[in-house]
Amino acid sequence: MLLEVKDLHASYGSTRVLHGIDLGMEEGSITALLGANGAGKTTTLRALCAMVKTTGTVSFAGQRIDGRATEDIVRLGIAHVPDGRGTFANLTTEENLRLGAYVRRDRHAIEGDLQRVYGYFPRLKERRAQQAGTLSGGEQQMLALSRALMLRPRLLLLDEPSFGLAPMIVRELFDILRAVKQAERVSMLLVEQSAALALDFADRAYLIETGRIVLSGTAQDIRRDDAVRRSYLGY
Amino acid sequence: MKRLVPIAALLAAALASPAAVAQKKYDPGASDTEIKIGNTNPYSGPASAYGTIGKVIAAYFKMLNEQGGINGRKISFISYDDGYSPPKTVEMARKLVEQDQVLFLFQTLGTPPNTAIHKYMNMKKVPQLHVATGASKWNDPKNFPWTMGWQPNYHTEGEIYAKHILQTKPNAKIGVLYQNDDYGKDLLKGLKDGLGAKAAGMIVKEASYEVSDPTVDSQIIQLQGSGADVFVNITTPKFAAQAVRKVYDIGWKPVHYLNNVGSSVGSVLVPAGLEKAVGVITTEYLKDFTDSRWANDPAVKTWAAFMKKYYPEGDLADRSNMYGYTAAKTLEQVLRQAGDNLTRTNIIKQAASMKGYRVDTLLPGISMTTSDDDFAPIEAVQLERFNGKQFELFGEVMGK
């Protein structure tokens, strides 16, 4: 079991958002976390990275990580592509990418990874010396994903990669995600609003509503479930 | 008949001396056991360098009290910090006069702070004694009978330099560097008044500087460029040292008059480099501890012993400590003269009847004389020239 979450509570100040969720992921699995706006999807990812006050246990590859600081969790190989993409606006595109590999010990391999990432997103190579703040929404999303890949993570947390992108760009992005899935042997926890998109990408899925897990199973079971079909797939 | 009057005056003065007054008379702030003296001083703020004057005076009174005080009365010296800000000086002076009920204020420091309380003190008829500033306006008994200066004022110092220039180099071309505040402008005005009508012709360039300027190098270059062959240097210690060094470094060889405020051997000429200060002329009225000439002078030795015992954290090289000590000794004399008649009117009267009184830390030949229409105790200064090791007196005592 790569990731195991038991009875996770999380709150912003005095308002509680997560009411004790349980979650599990095997090594290599692609899991989607579905739910309406404000259900607690983003909070879950932030809770995993200790970016919000939590109680309950989270263990990764057998080690407890719920008490640790964000910077230490990242060092274990968990990369997080945050909502709003977290771009370093005043730094150049390449500087953003180099920061992704900040914690890595194998300095010599970084150049190679840089070219590999440029392979996935040739557009980023054209913009490498440009201030990241001036990139388009789509390009910033690619940059955020690439920055996460520069860490050579074991677990990739993706927070609504499709957010604010044109449908054609989203398709292109998910095609690249599939290529990454084959090439990188990395597990992914994908938070997405558009259930259809997520379900045909992931192999397992969880459904979260108002801070509680209400449904879990393989992607096919979830897609066949009537309640899900009616409220999330719209047919 | 005319000859008799002065003798009568002398007799009256003698009569008024302590022995004659038997019964004790007190004003608020004086009692059988205590004399309360008030003071304001910049312990904080931009002028906190002068805070040491307040501290050395307090140390002197501590010593005085240990030696039995004055006529059996202990001195309680109440000093407040005004951060050299006039509004705070007014507040602190009112606290001393109205709340602490001190007998008088002594050595309040700085021209702007003292100007702020000038009218108030005279309206309240509380002596503002021996103010620690060199402005010339404190010697005005007619309008301000309760305010008295102490040190030689900057205006007189300027006049003395002018007199010496006229004597030694009548067709000199003078360059002046001065600090852009009341002290600097007062001394400059004294220089111009001393030169009289020839001032406009002789002064070829005036360069001012702000205390916030990092250096005065630019001004020195301007003065050299003006072709001046006499340099009057009106600066405080830090800028004085910079000026002495820069004048030497750029190879400018004027007759260099350095004002008293910035002429301490230890804290100005040593940092500037003694060899660069050869030939500098200044006026002096106090013995400078850092000048080797006074190394084994008894008065300076007692002062150093006093400092070690009562004010050890004080810096012996800081001229302000000798200044405060000498002022405190002057006051001690005034209080002894007043005896048991500790009324404010008598304090001013005694302070205004100094006849050539000498404190041993003053230069030889310099003494304090005051009268009903002369409220400036020290008006004489001695011209000195620096020979590379120490200052040498030359010429006679200048001024009253």
Binding site: A89, N90, G133 | S218, G225
Partner: protein
Amino acid sequence: MDAFLHQVFAGLATGGIYASLALALVMIYQATHLVNFAQGEMAMFCTYIAWSLMNAGMGYWPAFLLTVAFGFALGVAIERLVIRPVRHAPVLSTVVVFIALLVILNSVTGWIYSYTIKPFPSPFPASSFLGNRFMSPHELGSIGITFIVLALLYAFFRFTPLGLAMRAAAQNPESSRLVGIRVGWMLALGWGLASAIGAIAGMMIAPIVYLDPNMMGGILLYAFAAALLGGIDSPGGAVLGGFAMGVLENLLGAFVIGNELKLGVALVLIVGVLVVRPSGFFGKVHVTRV
């Protein structure tokens, strides 16, 4: 003509003073996005430490290096003990903390070391090839050291991952944590480096203006102006800004409006420049998508 050259070189000398402190101001800005009012007093305090070490018999260069290390430690300590507690308070609280630091350091130094000026040795021999009629060897030498520090700083930010991490932490703390940067320590590092640069600046300035607790008072304003004139986030801009300030101030004072209004007019020019180019000459114009 000779007088003009003299003034220009004297301006470069004072400009070097402003540039060295401006560098420290830019350094602290890049790490914290704040301009530290107490930077001058911190530099002055470190210079007194160097003076005490030399007074106790230590050689110039060992004392120099030890003081730079002390400066670094002082900066880190101030960040950890004094700045961190107010990191969530409104920005102005931090400005008040800076003012408090300024006042405390100035007053305590005056109390410990008294206010008499102290000569401070120069590492450069008095009559070396460096010196010429216009500038003393020390003035030229200190400008040299300022450029060396600038080069080191440039290399540090440009080529080391640590430098990049520091700039990232200052700009976007949350994303920085997500790539593993210990944001808290980056701030401490920024303060340490700025304080160390300040210590170097102090030791270069003291021989020129003499060491006293109020040594840095006036200089801070000009350094502040130089840093912003050149571009608050560009070390190179700050150094050039410093030299421009020094020469501008001297020429204005000597030839244009006399010394009485030099300070005011120099500053009015700064405001004029900023109104035209709000991020200084060499500062990067920040484009943010709304």
